[in-house]
């Protein structure tokens, strides 16, 4: 490919500053923040219970409390009016990808706040809370799986319910990795080591993001079989 052809293909980058406002305005903030706040509210209630029952919160509770945020993220990837946006010079994946980038700080802040709430319930006599880097890797992996499932559902006939389809798929995947002995050997600490769990979950996240990228760049139109039949007759 010649340099001029490359320049032509990447011309849409110049439109990004103009797109920023549109991306921020179409970002499903209410959905994302509802998910993050629901998890935080749940954890705050559990912290209150932990104080009265003298049983500090664990990373297990943080995992449960992070699930609403993961669920909310599955609704962020949706690209409305995709058939229309596909014919514009700017690639259709730019908007959902930008939404994901905007969601990342909100998710990181939620994770940080949840770890802070957990740490506050641990009395000093019990020492420092366990290392959080494997947990962060695990939650990043969960988010990436949710995004990949949502992106794939968004390119299917069930695009309208992409998030609603992606959430149970993600939760099923999480449950499977947790309870299936084959996956638990690599993805759950113990039996795996903290270091091993971190590497394994970042690998899962990388694979899921690669799948997300492929799904977002996919330009096929998918119609119901009946519609296709009618089309071929016509």
């Amino acid at each position: 490919m010649t340099a001029s052809a490359w320049r032509h293909r990447l011309a849409w980058i110049r439109a990004l500053p103009l797109l920023a406002r549109h991306v921020v305005r179409t970002m499903p903030w209410v959905t994302l923040i509802s998910g993050c706040l629901a998890g935080l509210a749940f954890l705050a209630i559990m912290a209150r219970v932990a104080d009265t029952s003298h049983s500090p919160l664990t990373q297990g509770t943080v995992r449960v409390a992070f699930l609403p945020a993961v669920a909310a993220l599955a609704f962020v990837v949706r690209a409305p009016f995709r058939p229309l946006s596909q014919v514009t010079p700017v690639p259709a994946w730019v908007t959902p990808a930008s939404h994901l980038l905007l969601a990342a700080p909100a998710l990181a802040a939620t994770c940080w706040a949840q770890l802070l709430i957990m740490a506050r319930t641990i009395p000093p006599a019990l020492g420092r809370p366990p290392a959080s880097y494997p947990l962060a890797a695990q939650l990043a992996g969960w988010c990436a799986v949710a995004v990949a499932a949502a992106a794939c559902a968004d390119r299917s006939r069930y695009a309208d319910l992409g998030g609603a389809v992606a959430v149970p798929v993600t939760f099923a995947a999480i449950a499977l990795t947790w309870y299936a002995p084959v996956t638990a050997r690599f993805l759950v600490d113990p039996p795996a080591t903290a270091h091993g769990v971190t590497i394994a979950w970042y690998a899962v996240a990388a694979a899921a993001l690669a799948l997300t990228g492929a799904a977002m760049r996919d330009q096929w139109h998918r119609y119901a079989r009946a519609l296709l039949r009618h089309g071929s007759r016509g």
Partner: protein
């Protein structure tokens, strides 16, 4: 005027469809959608998997399993909640609110139809109950199912569906239903953080109860009737909320408000009943049958071994007898004292049982339980806790091996458990290898399972015996059957296991003859592994010695002192 227009003018004005018929029509359609919903079917499968994970590890006790089936119903309930919310929010979500508003059926009628359509979730719930009950009976359940507990699970599914419709009528976004389902799961999964009777107020309690460890059903534990009432009242309340959002008429709203107050009052009443203490007489009975098992257990003597089980547990007897008889068949001479294999009931009462009772009464119960034979004289018998014996599969094979090993320890004079002292290790004692060999012959465990107990990198850790680190053989299935409920049975050495393993490769008759010829010598504390190996004509297996640095570290990290086992 055209003919068509004249006909239309002559036709009487179409009357609105009767409301009940409309509600039933909508209910039929919604129920059919719910029955065929992929989400509900996935919830059914996931619920079944959850129930299986909970019930399969041990012999199912119906008073415990009925509650565990409810834990699977919770998973189904989450799926039904999401499906119902998606159905209720359909019109608003698809931007068709105006179109739906033009229909003859009002929003209130549609909500009523959707609520009635929750009947579509009943088949899935009943299938879950039926399949679980069938599986439990096939495994060999102990006791009889409590219908009120099972009905509670069904009501949980209905209540969750009603909550889903209530959420969907107000919040159409699918995330609202997901958050509702997660709230249901989050509260129940964290029930371990609650204590006392509060656990019964949660939608469905997980893991905090003692149902799996009591030797029979206990009155008021769980408070199934009151819990089912709470769930039913919650379902009614959620339905009222769903209707209140959609109904416009002032009179109807007033009626709903009255019904709502009644539902809240019923929830409060059911909650108060669940918080009531368990009857003293029931707890007295539980404590007596656990502290003084002879008063409740039925004992059977077979092949000079006494088996004592609580009423209803007779089906476990053959599973216990097989490994014990297998050991005794190969023992040339038995010890003078009788071997007893006995069940252990509750060893302590937690706050879910004792809530609401005076501290003095609780202390009296604790003191009585502290005098139980299993606690005062743990070495007097092989004690197996109620609700810990596996039902089938690899776990059962491991439990049989553990029981056989305990019986072989008794036969060779190794203490079954140490009484109130530190655990011991039969270091360089021939009788240990003999006991392991007997247990292998009796229970036929998988060779791979036995080999897995050896250290992964060839160099094992173990206790410090007179300045020597004794590598230990850690049988992976040691916890199966909880043959060592108090964690005080003797440790098994790597050398003992390797010698026993070498013995299994010899002709059985040859080993039996050698043992028979000098039995009293072989079970003597002073007879060493090397002497036994020499008598059998095999080399003593080599045990890799840990490096000096590791030995120093292991000695520095030693816990309580472990002694060499003496006479049993």
């Amino acid at each position: 005027m055209t003919i068509t227009a004249r006909r239309q003018a002559q036709r009487p004005a179409r009357r609105p469809a009767p409301r009940l018929a409309t509600v039933l029509d909508i209910a039929r359609v919604e129920a059919r959608l719910l029955v065929r919903s992929g989400l509900v079917l996935a919830g059914l499968v996931a619920g079944g998997v959850v129930i299986w994970l909970f019930i399969h590890p041990v012999e199912p006790l119906w008073w415990n399993v009925a509650w565990e089936i409810g834990e699977g119903q919770l998973v189904l309930a989450m799926a039904v909640l999401v499906a119902a919310q998606l159905a209720a929010g359909r019109a608003s979500r698809d931007g068709l609110a105006d179109l739906y508003a033009s229909f003859p059926a009002s929003a209130g009628t549609r909500a009523l139809g959707q609520l009635a359509g929750l009947a579509g979730a009943i088949p899935a719930s009943l299938v879950l109950i039926g399949a679980s009950a069938g599986a439990v009976e096939l495994i060999g359940a102990i006791g009889t199912p409590a219908i009120t507990v099972l009905a509670g699970g069904l009501l949980l599914v209905i209540a969750a569906g009603a909550a889903g419709i209530a959420i969907g009528t107000r919040f159409a976004h699918p995330l609202a239903g997901v958050l509702g389902a997660l709230a249901l799961f989050g509260i129940s999964s964290q029930s371990g953080r609650f204590s006392g009777a509060v656990i019964w107020l949660l939608p469905w309690e997980f893991h905090q109860d003692d149902l799996g460890f009591i030797p029979g059903p206990l009155t008021g534990y769980p408070p199934a009737g009151a819990h089912a009432t709470e769930l039913a009242a919650f379902a009614v309340l959620a339905a009222i909320v769903a209707l209140a959002v959609t109904v416009r008429a002032v009179r109807a709203r007033a009626g709903l408000a009255t019904a709502g107050i009644a539902a809240v009052a019923l929830i409060g009443l059911a909650g108060a009943v669940q918080l009531r203490p368990i009857p003293t007489a029931a707890l007295n009975h539980l404590v007596t049958e656990s502290a003084n098992p002879a008063s409740a257990q039925r004992c059977t003597t077979a092949s000079q071994v006494r088996y004592c089980l609580y009423p209803g547990f007779g089906s476990l007897l053959p599973s216990w007898q097989a490994p014990v008889n297998g050991v005794l068949a190969h023992v040339p001479a038995r010890p003078g004292h009788t071997l007893t294999v006995s069940q252990v009931g509750t060893t302590s009462l937690d706050s879910t049982l004792t809530h609401g009772h005076p501290k003095r009464q609780v202390a009296r119960w604790d003191a009585e339980l502290g005098r139980a034979p299993a606690i005062v004289r743990p070495g007097s018998a092989i004690y197996l806790p109620v609700g810990s014996w596996p039902a089938f599969g690899g776990q059962l094979a491991d439990a049989r091996f553990n029981l056989a090993l305990a019986a072989a320890d008794w036969a060779t004079g190794i203490p079954i458990t140490s009484s109130n002292g530190p655990e011991c290790v039969p270091f360089d004692q021939a009788r240990e290898a003999i006991a392991i060999w007997l247990a292998i012959l009796a229970a036929h465990p998988r060779a791979s399972e036995l080999q897995a107990g050896l250290p992964a990198h060839g160099i094992g850790a173990g206790p410090d015996i007179h300045g020597t680190i004794v590598p230990i053989w850690n049988f992976r299935g040691a916890v199966a059957g909880q043959v060592d409920p108090f964690g005080s049975i003797p440790l098994t050495t790597e050398a003992g296991y390797l010698l026993a393993h070498a013995m299994t490769s010899l002709p059985e008759q040859k080993v039996a003859n050698v043992l028979k010829d000098g039995w009293s010598r072989w079970i003597n504390v002073r007879t060493t592994d090397a002497q036994l190996a020499a008598a059998l004509g095999i080399p003593m297996p080599k045990v890799p010695v840990p490096p000096t640095a590791l030995v120093r570290r292991l000695i520095a990290n030693q816990g309580p002192n472990i002694e060499v086992c003496g006479s049993g």
